[in-house]
Each structure stands twice: as structure tokens, then as C-alpha cells.
Homo-oligomer: 118 residues x 2
């Protein structure tokens, strides 16, 4: 069986902060019109569609159910920008590891995002 | 800036059911030893590491924060198998769309998984 991941969608109660966060990570978003009054922003990278969908839901799980990892360039500068975004928090400063420099930042919804510069 | 998605990790309180679900979707998992008593299962597809990590957390959000989309082969048979897994639920039966046959199934944690056969 062949299997291809085509899309990742995160429903978020903090759309603007999440947009700021993932733009800094490197996504280039386009706003999509949806007819229900919701807002969706979508980015396409490497064949995978990454979407942020606005929801009104104040709950924030204490243990986020999702973690994502990205290889990026310019780790130090990216992390310095990310931690300025409301709700974002660095839990591992950029650190040299055997396979590259790594950092872990919580996004405004509390998802753990591992960033690596090889 | 270059950006490469490298990993997706879902923390789940229903590890065995989630494993059954994503194996049927097409992932080939390997168990990974972790020293904290937790269980992790990992699959590598198209350069993206997909992991299921066992947590003990009874809460199940009413609005899942994550949705994933996959292109697969043999949609009908896959969906028929998925709905047999405890906690999984089909919310759109396989339906012919302009861009392929689609179905939507909730995984045992309530994430909405869109499956498409082109």
C-alpha cells in the first residue's frame, strides 16, 4: 500500500498568535475564504498542506496531544523571534546535539515544536 | 528560508487502538524503547517520522485540535477495517468527489482523518 501525507490542520483558539508563530517557523500562508464565518490560513510545503483554522474554544490541554518537528535554517534568530509571540515559550534553548543544533518551543496553543538546524 | 517537516507525534491515551488505526491507514510501526516506562511506536514515511506516544490522560477534547489527510489506495477496504476499531467512527462514507474518492474517519482519540483515493 502506498501512503502519502497530504495535509495537517490545527484548529486553534489563538489564530493570530499561531499565524505569527508558524510564519516565523517559515510557512508562507494564504488566507482562505470559508463561508461559515471562520478563518482559515493555508500554506503548502513539500506537498503537504498546513492549515490553521480558527475556532472558539477556550480550553487548553495541559498535555498537548500533538508535537511537530521541523528542520529550519537560522535557528537562533528564529527562536529569539518565536519567544516574543504571546503564549509561546522556549523549553529548550538552542543546544548543540550530535545531529545538529536543536531547540524546543511551545506554540501559543501549547504544542511542542522541535526545531533543528543541521 | 528552507523548511522541512520532519516529524509528527501524537500523544495518546489509547495506544493500542491508535496503533491498529494507523496500521490500517498504512503506517509500518516499530516499537521504540523509552526509559521512562512509556511506550512509543514510530513509522517513517516519505522522510516524515510519525510517532504514537502512550500517555495516561482520560480527557478527550470535544473539538479535536488536529486533522490529518492522507492519500491511500483501496479506500473502501481500509475504511471498512478502520470502523471496526474501538473508538473509531466514520463521519463521511467513501464518496466520489471531483478530485477522487474521499472518506472521513475519526481516530480513537477523536482526530478527524481525511482519506482520499485518487
Amino acid at each position: 500500500m502506498s501512503l502519502i501525507l497530504t495535509s495537517i490542520t490545527i484548529n486553534t483558539p489563538h489564530l493570530q498568535d499561531m499565524l505569527s508563530f508558524y510564519k516565523l517557523v517559515g510557512f508562507e500562508f494564504k488566507g482562505i475564504k470559508v463561508d461559515k464565518g471562520s478563518e482559515v490560513y493555508r500554506a503548502l510545503h513539500g506537498g503537504v498542506e498546513f492549515s490553521l483554522y480558527s475556532i472558539t474554544n477556550p480550553q487548553r490541554s495541559t498535555i498537548p496531544s500533538l508535537q511537530l518537528g521541523f528542520n529550519i535554517t537560522d535557528l537562533e534568530k528564529t527562536v529569539a523571534g518565536l519567544v516574543q509571540i504571546p503564549g509561546a515559550m522556549c523549553i529548550l534553548d538552542p543546544t548543540d546535539m550530535p545531529d545538529g543544533k536543536k531547540a524546543i518551543v511551545l506554540d501559543p496553543d501549547g504544542h511542542s515544536i522541535e526545531l533543528c538546524q543541521r
